[in-house]
Subunit: 343 residues, 2 copies
Amino acid sequence: MIPSMRLTIFIVIAPVFLFAQGNGSDLAALAQKTFGILPLQMASPENPITPEKAALGKILFYETRISADGTVSCSRCHPLGLYAADGLPMAIGNSCKINPRNAPTILNAAAQISAHWIGNRTSVEDQARQALIGPPSFGMPSYDSAMKVLKAIHGYEPLFKAAFPLDTQPIKEQNFALAVGAFERTLVTPGLFDAFVNGDPDALTPGQKKGLKTFVSEGCASCHSGVYFGGQSYKKFGVSAPYWTFTKSQSPDLGRFVVTGDENDKYVFKVPVLRNVAMTPPYFHDGSVNSLTDAVYIMAKAQLNRTLPGDELKNLMAFLNALTGAIPKQALEVPLLPAREEY
Amino acid sequence: MIPSMRLTIFIVIAPVFLFAQGNGSDLAALAQKTFGILPLQMASPENPITPEKAALGKILFYETRISADGTVSCSRCHPLGLYAADGLPMAIGNSCKINPRNAPTILNAAAQISAHWIGNRTSVEDQARQALIGPPSFGMPSYDSAMKVLKAIHGYEPLFKAAFPLDTQPIKEQNFALAVGAFERTLVTPGLFDAFVNGDPDALTPGQKKGLKTFVSEGCASCHSGVYFGGQSYKKFGVSAPYWTFTKSQSPDLGRFVVTGDENDKYVFKVPVLRNVAMTPPYFHDGSVNSLTDAVYIMAKAQLNRTLPGDELKNLMAFLNALTGAIPKQALEVPLLPAREEY
């Protein structure tokens, strides 16, 4: 065995072993080492968050007038009151067009390697921009047509100017994307898990602590990794058997293969973020499973070929509930949109 | 002339005459006498507002899971960020069904004689309840099916219990209606006009003061009466000529005749509330007119057979903007909805 392999095995095995032993503050320290500390915002060097940009982004998040039938805004499929997911198997966009996949929550989403289940959007900014012309999304015929609407609502001009002071013509789809992205980058939701990691040993119940240990020892954390519990890699769904044998999905989805054309990417999806998972049913890329217990049971079966015992499942469920977090207060204040005056 | 007729004429003529003379505090006093003082809430003996009921109502206002396609909530057609109107000519409900008329704002709406343009709902509570099974609205097959969804979301039980402590089975459509109605009854929006009436002579610009006088002297206030500037009576739209000759509406709407079957009610509609009118285009029962200037011009032509001179129109526009008000802060905070857990 070459030394680097030995080191890799040690790094993978050691925390799992230590987790099995840990309990109070030692467990918290291990969890912090394994998952990290939640930042206040999901910063990006390409899109620095400014108050003006995030404020404009929040307004645009509710803007329906830039959709083909006037009913779609970002908020339509990501309503904050439902933890920024719409509760539907697959999102329904303009003119009742059904999207190909489930709308994931946008909470804690901006730090992922990409956006969408198959990673066909490079970032939340890219997602926001392309949504404008996405046929089952906003469905506008062109970026220009969407921007024309924003330009006709005169109240937007000073808002875009303030958010993008160096631009002489700030109302453009790139800035729409940056503004909405800046708002989304503020949507970090600390929960009980974070309170535990940050030093409150009683923030988690004994069952939740057991669930945390199981989450690591069973191998969930190897994919649902990092401080957002996912969003960092692509993995095949259905390792032990095709995923639809478990989910009972009607029409199999080729997954990331659609993007890359690589045979190895068949049935490969981005590992979803698990923060607020208890609040955002239904589950999986096609919303084929309604219950979180079923979803966890299926994941263990499909990915690890493991039948979880009832008590482990129960503790895992308790732990996943500790990933429900607080949406920033400011994000929950509905902004007033500028009026479409004379037109 | 009998004495009571003389008195009536005096009551109608006197304020109009006085308005023409008034200016600062005398104008404010006259406006207060003519329109009244805006209350803090639109109270109803049938539905007393309690904090628990209004809080539940605000949650239910965002509830999409009780609609046929899972996309419709009260907020869909009455988004608060757009002053609780959807900006569409006619509201689009579940499964893209188009409603027969424009969705009016629900701000300052609860004190009207009825709900909907033709008064086919007795109150905001009646409107909220019937929306659940309205085919182009939420479109649920029955009240029971809607309540079944709410009952399955276990987080609703304590909320309904708290709002309706005397009910043993509080989750029922009547209480859905009362809760949503209680929330709506808090949606009073004081604006510059109210600041003026309440003692700040500089709250209105000279143009707005002129507009206020014109609003009364031209006769607008005789229908758009009371502290909400409308909502208190039904009137025929198109007195000087059929309304569609002005609005260019494609298919004439029989109006309140649909409800009463009375020939006199043909083309009769509820006089709409003008508060926040500048923020809630498009205009009229069919959203046939986009610009407020056009709408005011049309009203003078259609109702009073009067061609408004440009300066009067301009002042009226300025005055109508003074009816834009502040939505209560609490109403603008998005509530978190209980999760649909295992189902």
